[in-house]
């Protein structure tokens, strides 16, 4: 990579023949990576990838040029999205289904996907729901053009009550103390204690200890995704809500050498949890934040960022507007998180935690040319999306509009 940059930087005399798929964007400000902002920048795109980002006004008159008076950034990434999948992400017949692929639920033509695009989201992560101890493989897809970036982005694991004691299906006779369909916990802060709402279904495992034993066995014996996750070739996302669940997830990841993210964890800002996460190879996927989110929960982005733990926002429910991603970010900002950290959470860290950090999330030479033209600072909710480009092509508004 560094060699390639070197070659590009020191070959100014090389004539570049105008071709299809070549584009220049000149903007008042370009946000590249790691909090860097280039004033009066020039972004050059070639064959769907970023060729260079530079300062100055030396645009090539032979190539198409778009002048934008606002801000250009990498496209937002919506993690744990359910856009256009119609509740098809929960395979209830098995607790462990590592080879289930969320990509098979992806409908590229669904209006949810188009709505996400219009909100400045250029990539979505679709992941198996947290109802299974091992849910399967998450995919990362583009919101325009239907392209699947990877169908094996990360392995979805779950250590929440939602995955424990589930039923394999509706039962005519209800046995057990308090059988409730195993929905993910609705308590915004993970809830103080277990309650009567805890499911007691008929599928193994019914307990944390049973889930851990099942996971240890799966990783010890498992081929495919299990072996890849242990080798470090595949990120994991562990669903964990209550603070004790997060500590259990961190401990499991340490024991098995897994890297990736904890998903949920509204109280991840608790000092004991932050400390454990800091020593782990896990980030945290928080949100989506609602208007009723508690202060302790909202402040976790600030606390985690200060500790150097990567954070990203989940998009969640398709019924929620895709604008929820920027709303979550705004709520974290209001609770004191630094803007640079929040912006990373929307792009760079989101890509990293979704297992696609090498392709998405920043505007640097060689990265995929997914970017957004904003009317102003994208962290300011008054700023609008002016245009969205995916794979170097203008995707929104659709060309011709």
């Amino acid at each position: 990579m560094s060699l390639a940059l070197f070659v590009l930087a020191f070959a100014p005399g090389e004539p570049v023949a105008p071709r299809e798929g070549v584009l220049q964007i000149q903007a008042a400000e370009i946000w590249t990576a790691g909090g860097e902002r280039i004033q009066d920048g020039l972004l050059r795109i070639e064959d769907g990838r970023v060729r260079s980002v530079s300062t100055g006004k030396q645009s090539d008159p032979a190539l198409p040029l778009v002048r934008h008076p606002g801000v250009v950034t990498a496209g937002l990434i919506g993690l744990r999205s359910q856009a256009g999948v119609g509740g098809e992400l929960q395979e209830d017949t098995r607790s462990v289904l590592a080879e289930a692929r969320a990509v098979h639920a992806f409908d590229p033509a669904h209006p949810d996907v188009a709505r996400a695009l219009a909100a400045g989201i250029t990539a979505l992560e679709l992941a198996p729901a947290p109802g299974n101890v091992v849910g399967g493989l998450a995919c990362v897809v583009k919101t325009s053009g239907g392209r699947v970036l990877t169908s094996e982005a990360s392995l979805a694991l779950s250590l929440t009550s939602a995955a424990l004691g589930r039923s394999t299906g509706p039962s005519f006779f209800v046995f057990g103390a308090a059988e409730v369909p195993g929905e993910a916990q609705a308590q915004p802060d993970g809830g103080p204690e277990w309650s009567e709402r805890t499911p007691r279904g008929n599928r193994e495992p019914t307990s944390y200890a049973g889930a851990l034993a099942l996971l240890r066995r799966s990783f010890a014996e498992g081929q495919g995704p299990f072996a890849r996750a242990k080798r470090g070739d595949l990120a994991v996302t562990i669903e964990a809500w209550d603070r004790h669940e997060v500590l259990r997830a961190v401990e499991l990841a340490r024991e098995l050498g897994l890297a990736g993210a904890v998903r949920g964890a509204p109280l991840a800002g608790d000092p004991a949890v932050v400390q454990a996460l800091k020593e782990s190879k896990l980030g945290v996927i928080v949100g989506p934040y609602s208007a009723g989110q508690t202060r302790a929960s909202l402040e976790s982005v600030k606390t985690l960022a200060a500790a150097g733990v990567p954070v990203a926002f989940a998009l969640g429910d398709p019924a929620r507007s895709p604008e929820a991603l920027r709303l979550s970010a705004a709520r974290a900002l209001r609770a004191g998180a630094p803007p640079a950290a929040v912006w990373k959470a929307l792009t760079e860290d989101a890509a990293k935690l979704a297992g696609v950090g090498a392709s998405l999330g920043t505007l640097a030479a060689g990265r995929e040319a997914d970017f957004v033209l904003w009317s102003g600072d994208p962290l300011d909710l008054q700023s609008r999306v002016v245009a969205v480009y995916v794979d170097g092509q203008r995707a929104w508004p659709a060309p011709g509009h």
Binding site: T198, S207, L212, H244
Partner: protein, 398 residues
């Protein structure tokens, strides 16, 4: 390195967690009470206990060891026990703990400094229990006293509750093959120990791991703590102990153990009593059983020489406090010294942690309870609690 640090330490003023507690009565539990005595605490441990003393940093009417509850019941409910099998000896309650629960703090402030955590009683053999402190950082590393302290089981109606026979549908779930009666529960228990002795089914790694734990129980390395509420359950547990030669059996929630003096004395079991109720009646609406616990049950056990511990079942949400249980037992005729032992040294001995907790002796953990009057009386109050030398309830604050 240590040599370098030692002179520095000597030059330092007393640490934040170094105390000298002076009390009108020091109840050591391991020995006779000391009138006008002191307990010196240094580095989280008890440095000295004696008569007189000076330079007190804390004063109170009485000081006792931190209380120990073997049936605290702070667990994650059904999520603390694996129900897909009726026996899960290999699994540990440590994997299902919620150390962030506010209930630990509540127990600590009520004087309980050490507790046994176990899987909830939904299985016949639920898994391993562990002893931990009720306070400190919310991690196992910070709170652990003994990782594998006992094996938990349940005899009676509770482990079969919710199980069913497949009358109107295919036997498709694990609830259909689990026991549905007391007979079935006893059979599962006996089968587990029988298969262990025979080495049966050990091709399956889970079964082999279960049997390894049961062998430790049979060898007396691990106590077996079983729920046995009703008379018939107390009998069943003791019959099993005698049939398989289980050296260390503890009957938990043994409401009606007092009805079987000869069996208790003959078998050498220990007993954990549940909280006393106003009229002695205990109802289990859950399984439609009822039981009776007279106020003098503890006194009887004491007179028969049966080792017993009192418990508050704090996790049950009844709001009962362990100190109040000791007061109630005294109302039933139990001497103070025996009541104190039943909430400190006896539970420590039953779980094999008496080298660290349970009495006021130099070298033990500085877990102390400070009282404004004679301890374990309805008219006295806990005014201070120290956990490993750390003041968690300050007697000086009004």
């Amino acid at each position: 390195m240590l040599l370098l640090i030692a002179p520095l330490l000597a030059a330092l003023p007393p640490g934040d967690d170094d105390w000298t507690i002076q009390a009108a009565t020091v109840h050591t539990v391991s020995g006779a009470p000391i009138e006008n005595g002191f307990v010196r605490v240094q580095g989280g441990k008890i440095a000295a206990v004696g008569k007189g003393g000076g330079g007190a940093t804390l004063e109170c009417a009485a000081v006792t060891p931190g209380l120990i509850d073997l049936a605290l019941g702070i667990d994650t409910g059904p999520l603390s026990v694996e129900q897909s099998s009726e026996t899960a000896a290999r699994l540990s309650a440590s994997d299902g703990l919620d150390l962030f629960s506010y209930r630990w703090e509540r127990a600590l402030r009520s004087g309980i400094t050490t507790a046994l955590a176990q899987p909830a009683d939904y299985d016949v053999i639920g898994g391993l229990g562990l002893v931990l402190k009720t306070g400190g950082a919310p991690t196992l590393a910070a709170r652990l006293v003994k990782p594998e302290a006992c094996l938990r089981g349940a005899i009676g109606a509770q482990p079969s509750n919710g199980n069913a026979i497949p009358r109107f549908q295919e036997p498709q779930t694990f609830y259909f093959r689990r026991p549905t009666t007391r007979m079935g529960v006893e059979w599962v228990f006996r089968k587990a120990f029988h298969d262990t002795l025979q080495g049966q089914g050990e091709d399956d790694p889970a079964t082999a791991a279960d049997h390894a734990v049961l062998r430790r129980v049979l060898a007396g390395e691990l106590p077996l703590v079983v729920q046995a509420k009703a008379t018939q359950d107390v009998r069943t547990a003791i019959y099993l102990k005698e049939e398989f030669g289980i050296p260390r059996l503890v009957l938990d929630h043994a409401i009606e153990a007092w009805r079987e003096p000869e069996l208790l004395k003959r078998s050498g079991v220990a007993v954990i009593l549940p909280p006393f109720t106003a009229d002695g009646r205990h109802a289990d609406g859950f399984v439609n059983d009822s039981y009776f616990l007279p106020l003098d049950a503890a006194r009887k056990l004491h007179e028969w020489g049966v080792p017993f511990a009192l418990s508050a079942h704090e996790g049950a949400g009844a709001g009962a406090r362990l100190a109040d249980q000791a007061a109630a037992a005294q109302r039933g005729g139990l001497p103070l010294a025996a009541a104190l032992e039943a909430v400190t040294l006896t539970p420590a001995r039953l779980l094999g942690v008496e080298a660290r907790v349970g009495s006021l002796e130099a070298g033990k953990d500085a877990d102390l309870v400070l009282w404004n009057g004679p301890p374990l009386q309805p008219t006295s109050r806990i005014i201070g609690v120290l956990l490993q030398g750390r003041l968690v309830l300050d007697p000086r604050s009004k």
